[in-house]
């Protein structure tokens, strides 16, 4: 029971890391290497407001979401859209966007170092909470519930609304989506901005229980990348299920076998998915 609950909570954390990048890469087709920095920026905001003015990170999350949405929309509109327009194919866009966002990630690291070069750590809801006889940290539970809410909201939005359908259409085929009258640029900007907002809010919540620092973003980018590739690029269910699987497997290995083997276990599943289902759990087979 301990394993199941801790594993699910860890999976929720992973889902928070991955859902945003999934929207950015799956729909807007931007392989955003600055994704982890956006996450740390959300954490830095929470740290800063909490230590300076004792503002709850949950309130910070509500402030961070619109700011990150606007910031990411501007990044897409002015830095990335020119790349999208001039690229002749997906391969070229991927190379260009990787280079551009790599640069953005350095700039963001520099900004964060100048604000706070030390560890980003504070205590918020670091209290025990008992579920079915298993003790968990309250801050992790809150993050899990937020992940579940965000995941469910995104799923419903994507599948039940007109805008969501347009987003899915762009995710499947930009050209065809354009032909049926969808404004591809606008939908891509929307998906990119939304992805950035989800990531930053994730960072705000994650900072309540993981010690961050200005340079740690790349670790989160890599983890997110593994999760969305496992789940299938562009599918929100895939990212969530892959995140939960990863969380459960890592916790099981840590508890039953050895904590030293968690990383190895994570990469074994990743390899297995790549070998037997290279398009990801929910991915579409490319023709």
């Amino acid at each position: 029971m301990d394993i199941l609950i801790s594993g699910l909570l860890l999976g929720g954390t992973y889902a928070l890391m991955a859902m945003g990048l999934n929207l950015q890469y799956g729909v807007a087709r931007i392989m955003n290497l600055a994704n982890g920095e956006m996450l740390v920026l959300g954490g830095l905001a929470a740290f800063w407001l909490f230590t300076a003015s004792a503002i709850s990170p949950l309130i910070t999350a509500l402030v961070v979401a619109p700011l990150a949405f606007a910031g990411n929309w501007l990044i897409y509109r002015y830095l990335l859209l020119p790349l999208v327009r001039r690229s002749k194919n997906q391969g070229q866009l991927e190379v260009d966007s990787i280079l551009a966002t790599f640069g953005i990630s350095f700039a963001l690291v520099g900004v964060m170092v100048s604000i706070h070069g030390e560890y980003i750590t504070y205590s918020y809801l670091a209290d025990p909470f008992s579920i079915l006889g298993s003790t968990v940290a309250l801050n992790r539970l809150v993050a899990f519930l937020a992940a579940a809410t965000i995941g469910a909201a995104l799923y419903i939005w994507l599948n039940r609304t007109y805008a969501g359908t347009a987003v899915r259409a762009v995710s499947v085929d930009t050209e065809a989506a354009g032909l049926v009258g969808i404004n591809v640029d606008r939908i891509s900007a929307l998906a990119f901005a939304l992805g950035g907002a989800v990531t930053a809010v994730g960072g705000t919540l994650i900072s309540t229980f993981i010690t961050l620092d200005a340079s740690i973003g790349v670790i989160f980018t890599m983890k997110a990348l593994i999760i969305i590739i496992m789940g299938g690029v562009g599918d929100i269910r895939g990212a969530i299920i892959a995140a939960l699987i990863l969380g459960l497997v890592e916790t099981t290995v840590a508890t039953v076998i050895d904590p030293g083997l968690t990383l190895a276990a994570a990469y074994v599943i990743f390899l297995a998915v790549l070998l037997f289902r290279p398009q990801g759990l929910f991915g579409r087979r490319t023709s």
Partner: protein, 404 residues
Amino acid sequence: MNRRTIMVSFSSALLAAGIAGLTAASVIAADPIKIGVVSHLTGPLAGGEAVTHTPNIELWAKQINDRGGLKVDGEQRPVEIITYDDKTDPAEHIKAVQRLATQDEVDYMLSPYGTGFNIAAAPIYAKYNYPLVAVSAITDKIPELSKRFPNMFFTLGTTSGFVEGVRDTLVTMRDAGTIGNKIAMVNVADAFGIELADTARPILTEAGFEIVYDKSYPLGTPDISPVVKGAKASEPDAFVAWSYPPDTFALTEQAIIEDLDVKAFYTAVATCFPAYADKFGAKIEGNLGAGGINPDTPAMQAYRKAHKEVTGKEADYWASATYYASLQVLEQAIEGVGSVDREATIDYIKNNSFDTVLGTISFDENNNSERYWSVGQWRDGVFRAVADTGMGDSVPAVAKEGWN
């Protein structure tokens, strides 16, 4: 962007201008002594560097320039600090050292942060013959290193010294009847954690302790709770973690959540950070960790006060003071030699003793200063040394009474 001149000698220039009055332009202070440092401004070790090294360099340079500079060749010369970022990458580090030596032609260099960097970059510092008073370099290889690199000096102790400090602390607590024999030990699966755990296993076993839980976890583990749950299930009397800053924070938080109620709770790096106390408040009363200081000496009190005034931050309770002492050693050696002569400075450091914030220190035949605190304990908001090598001013450790 990369090059950042932290200190410009404003104050000394002003002073000179004030005295000379009319001919101000011609007497702006003497050429500065250029001092280079390759820092981890970004990357995995940036957080530690920003706490332990950077503020001390700022403080030291300001203090020297406020009093007009260093006395060399019969004049006062200010110091100018030239900093490069190596992104915590050894290859970048070596390139930056080379650049400081050949392009900027700095007169002296300051030691880098982290054992690995001090050792990996030792040949390049030795090649250009810069005296290097290493601080955050804890290793049992000091005799070999100082033989190969006679320019290198050590101040913060050895791996064995650290483990023996923990052993002595636990033995004292066992003799006092505070704890029993059972230790749960975990370590971060990284060079530092692995080396300390490997050294600790035989030393703790020989002292009659039984290691009832012994696991490692990867660097950057996002959820440490299985480790703490496992340790708790082994019902230990003491908990020892050879940990890095992020996991020191995570292990402590998880121990509070799981109520891992042991009378001795030890975490390694970052336990001494003021941020540790800021994060956990009174809950960490009685926690043990790497480092510690004696807060009662006038030199230490003056240092901590100046650190706070100049940098706006509390100094950490371990290597901050030692790093500042390493700068004092360099300062006194340069003035002792009386000119910018690196060869002579190395000789001077070898053969003299220095009056520092840690008291008087000198270097033995292995270029090692055998005076350091190894284990500290949080008592009323101060991280006080409870074990040391050669200091002799530690206080006995007391039992930790729960996580209140």
